[in-house]
Structure formats: C-alpha cells, structure tokens
C-alpha cells in the first residue's frame, strides 16, 4: 500500500487527543505562561501573513469598483474607496467576449465536474470492496499512471489524433480523472460501515444500489471536497485551451481571456474596437481589467465557504498532490 494511502487512513479518524484539544480552548496547566515578546512576535507574523493574502484581493476589488476619477487620482490601483461605481461590471457583462467566456467557463466546469465525479465515484467504489475480482490488477493499473506517463507531446498527439483539436471534449476528457482523488474516495468508501452494506445486501440491494443509497450519503463531506477539487481544476483550465483551441477566441474560457487581456495587454478578442468600444471610454480600463479578475474569483468565493469546513475531515492529501 502506498504511504499516501496509509497517511490518509490515519487522518480519517482524528486522534482522540485532537478531539479533546478542540474542546479545551485554554492553555494546559503544565505549560509555562506565555512571554509578552513571544506573543507579540507570533501576532505580528500571523498578521503579516494574513495581510499578504488579503491586501492584494482588497486592492483589486476596490479598483474594480472605482470610477475613472478615483483611478486617475490614485494614479493606478485604488487602495482606499473613493468614488465607487458598478460601471466596470456593467460594461464587462455587456461585452460579448466576456459573456461568452463566462458561459464557456461555467459550462466546462459543470459538465466536467459531473463527468469526473461520476467516473471517479464509480471507479472508487468498484475498487473498494475487498477481495473483488481483479481489483489488485485494476488498482495497479491506476497507480502506475502516477509514476509513468507519456508526457506532453504524445498526449497531445493522441488527443489531436482522435480529432480533439478545437473540440470541447479535449478540455475535459484527457484530464477528467485524477487517480489521486480516486484513491482518496476509495479509502473513504473502504471504511464505510461493513455492517450497513451487509444489511443492505441481505435485503437484496445490488452494488449500484449500495453505492447510491448507502455509500454516497454516508460520505458527503469527501464527495463535496472532491467535487470542489475537480470543479476548480476545470474553472482554472488554461493550458489545455492553449493546446487545443488557441485560435478559436469564441471558445475561450474566462482564464484564457484574462490571460490575453490582462497579462498580455491585448485588446479584448472579438470586440469591434480592440478595447471596449468608443462609448465605453468613461470606464477606466484598469477598473475593467480588475473586474475581469474579480469575475474569475467570484464563483470560487461563493463555493469555498461551503466546502472549506470539510477540509478538516481528512483531505490532507491535496497538499501531497500539489
């Protein structure tokens, strides 16, 4: 068994003292009282860490909401709100390129996540029953791909050879499953109460029924986290676009538009006036750029709080992966 898998299983069941620690919010009696210098240093360090994470996001949001006047007065990015307007967002959503890109991104994310989750959940359950037919062989087949792969160019040749150039499926199928995520799901499913499954089997439930009515409902947390991982992967898909549809600007997802427009400083592709048209000159271009940045962030920020609380339940593996 891979060490990763074992680490996972250890993490699933929180150590008893971890639970105790959670309840006990106070310093244990045996610990020496904190020094003022130590506490200050700790506070400052953590404060700096938080600021480094949050200040850039704050500046970007404020700038995207600023009027041309405010941007001019600040001479660039706006730090303190000073004349706020939603103009940039109105213009951005009025632009066909951004609207199309938003739809494309949402579509790829929705379809991709559904495909990935369906395939992964089925595969993970199929491999989770001990002593089933050929499960050792299939597991080896999966794990081997983590160590050897054809690499960039042979994969590209296979996808284009199958006619994937410029096709939607080339953004989804080649990277639809992560063996890592399947292994995580599998280790959770293996630990689903065997009594429950046994009872269902006696009641005449088949494996499909057990997966749908018992295993899935009892592992909601890990399912949510995996869906987030896959969803974020699709939402962020960038390089696949560069490989398989670099010229079809009407098929570009948001990240690629962000890349061409903000990073490379190109005019918005597909728009008449290379830029945002004449009527839109009141909007600061910088606000507009930042509005696109915010747009790529928003869906993530909406989903994140709901899933984030489940990270604790044992998804420490993402870190190993990354």
């Amino acid at each position: 068994m891979l060490t990763i898998e074992r680490t996972l299983e250890a993490a699933e069941t929180p150590a008893p003292q971890a639970v105790r620690k959670k309840k006990r919010n106070t310093r244990p009696a045996w610990e020496e009282p904190p020094t003022i210098a130590g506490e200050t240093a700790k506070g400052i360090t953590l404060g700096v860490v938080l600021l480094v994470m949050l200040v850039p996001l704050w500046i970007i949001v404020v700038t995207s909401l600023s009027t041309q006047g405010a941007v001019n007065r600040a001479g660039g990015l706006v730090i303190w709100p000073d004349g706020l307007t939603l103009e940039a967002y109105r213009v951005m959503l009025g632009d066909t390129t951004v609207r199309t890109a938003l739809l494309v991104s949402l579509g790829i994310t929705a379809v991709g996540t559904l495909v990935s989750m369906a395939v992964s959940v089925m595969c993970a359950y199929g491999l989770s029953r001990s002593r089933s037919f050929a499960h050792r062989f299939l597991l080896t087949l999966l794990i081997l791909t983590m160590f050897v792969n054809g690499g960039l160019i042979p994969t590209f040749l296979v996808v284009t050879g199958l006619g994937g150039y410029g096709q939607w499926w080339s953004l989804i199928l080649p990277s639809a499953i992560s063996v890592f995520n399947i292994l995580i799901l599998r280790s959770f499913y293996s630990s689903t109460s065997a009594d429950l499954i046994e009872a269902a089997r006696i009641d005449g439930a088949g494996d499909w029924r057990i997966l749908w009515s018992i295993v899935l409902p009892t592992s909601r947390a890990v399912t949510a986290v995996m869906a987030l991982f896959y969803g974020v992967g699709y939402w962020n898909s960038f390089f696949n676009v560069m490989l398989y549809m670099p010229t079809d600007s009407e098929k570009w997802p948001l990240q690629y538009v962000l890349y061409t427009y903000v990073n490379r400083g190109n005019g918005m592709p597909g728009s008449v006036n290379a830029g945002f048209g004449t009527a839109l000159s009141q909007t600061a271009p910088l606000s507009l750029q930042m509005a696109v940045v915010v747009l790529t962030l928003v869906p993530l920020l909406i989903v994140y709080p709901f899933v984030q609380k489940h990270f604790r339940t044992g998804v420490l593996t993402g870190a190993i992966k990354g």
Partner: protein
Amino acid sequence: MTTATPTRPDRGTRPARQNWRVRLRRDRSLILMTLPAVVLLLVFNYVPLFGLVTAFQEYDPLAGIWYSTWAGLDQFQRLFGDALFWNAVRNTLYLSFVQLILFFPVPIALALLLNSVLSQRVRNFIQSVVYLPHFFSWVLAITIFQQMLGGAGALNHFLRNNDIGTWDVMTNPDTFALLVSAQVIWKEAGWGIIVFLAALAAINTDLYEAAAADGAGRWRRLWHITLPGLRGVIVLMLVLRLGNALTVGFEQFLIQRDAVGYDTADVLDTFSFYYGIATGDYSYGAAAGLFKSVISLLLIWGANKLAHAFGEDGLYRR
C-alpha cells in the same frame, strides 16, 4: 487454514477461494463501475506511452505514427548538443533548488505557529484565508503579482511617488528565482500546512505534559517531541519534492517566460512545449519529454532509497 484467519465482515458474501468465473459473475457490476475510468486511463495515459516512439522518429503529422521515418537516437543526439536544452536543464535544477530551500520550511513553520494559537476561531479563520490562493489559477495568481509588483503595479507606484526609483520585479531575470519562489509560497504554502497540522494533531499530548513535568522548556519540547513527531511527514514531503525535482510548475513559467526571457525562465516542460508543439517539431519535444520522465523516475527511486536509509517509509515501503 482459511478458518483460522480472522474474517473481515465483508467477506461473508465475498469468500476468498472460488472459481474465477464465479467471482467474475458475482463482481460484474463492480468491474463495470471501474470501466469508464479504465478506458479513460488507457486512452489518455497508456496509449501516449506508446506514443513515446515518436521520440525515436522523424515524426510527420501527415504520415502519422505508423509511417513516419525511423530516426533512432538522432533526436537525442541533437538534444544533447543543443545549448538551449542544457539551458533549460540548468534553469530547472536551479529553480527547483531555490524553491526547495525557500519554500519547503515555510509550511512547517506556519503549521507550528498556527498550532500554538489557542483560539479555535482564530485558527479556523487563518486557515480559510491561507488555503484560498491554492485554488487560484496561475493566470490569476500571476495577474495579482503583476498588479502588485509589476512596472505599473502598486509597489512601483508607491516607489515613484516617494522618489525612490522603480524596481520592476516581474521582468528582472536576476531576481526571477526569488520571484517564482515568492509566488509559490504565496499560492501554496498555506495549503501545504494541512499535512503538518494533521501530523501535529496526532502527537500524544501526554508526552508534552510529561516533558514539562521533567523540566523541559518550550524549545526543548519543540526539539525533542514536536519535530520527531513530524519527521515521517517531513521525509515524505521531501521525497516527493526530490522526486519531482524536474517539475517546477509549468503554467507559472509558460505565462512568464516571455516577460523574463527564455535565458532564465525556460524550464524542461516549457522547452518541450516550445520546441515540440509550438514549432511543430514533435519528435524533438517528445525526446526532451522522455529524457525528463526517465530522469524523474530515477529521482523518485533514489529519493525513496534515501528515505529508507533514514528509516522512514518514503513513498512506498521497502
């Protein structure tokens, strides 16, 4: 014999010794469930393995893989005589090394710091903030860096206003290694603490109490209890990092390569992209990719041997 072994509950319906035909029939729905994943892996992971033949060919997209002319080791000969290739190898190893030194200790330190915060609320808040950038795309992360540190960014604006002069971090080849390390730290260090937090939670608190009773101070407890408790995870992460020494992040360099120049920013992955796909010289790029894969496998193997030498499990057991 079989009756003597402790039985697992699920075995009731799945006895061990049976004719394979019976077992196949019994488990047919399980096999069916794995089928879509297996097909995807075969098509997009195993077939490309055979596609590596292109590295030994003069691949012609019109002729296809079956009819392209055989080139033997010509591509590799070309590769090993190519200064640009060695430039990419050098950059990869250098950037990997700098990132190891600068990035690796950060999540450990952050996890220790966070673990010492008593209030669960504050901890949860900090955790949700530092995990967030992990979910940003590299395009987004680099855009944010560009806006903060770039030539027209917040930092230079401040410097200009105070007559200090400008400092364009984003396009300066000399500080590129520091820049990419800073980006990786900003984006991934927070996420990296999860493993260490889990390992910290698994350390028995009685050990601390006993040590404190014996007169061990804060730092001695850190050195004699906490760090040994983290040793297994640290070695595992180190093994993974060493095994991936030739992978330093692909999109991150792809996006920034032009701004900084290939002299400093071309790594092995971008090399095989630019000289393989972008220029249509597929065989050449495939050869570079194959070179990287083979060395990577050797590195993983070597790193595991190292872990075993330290008495740890590494990625797999001995």
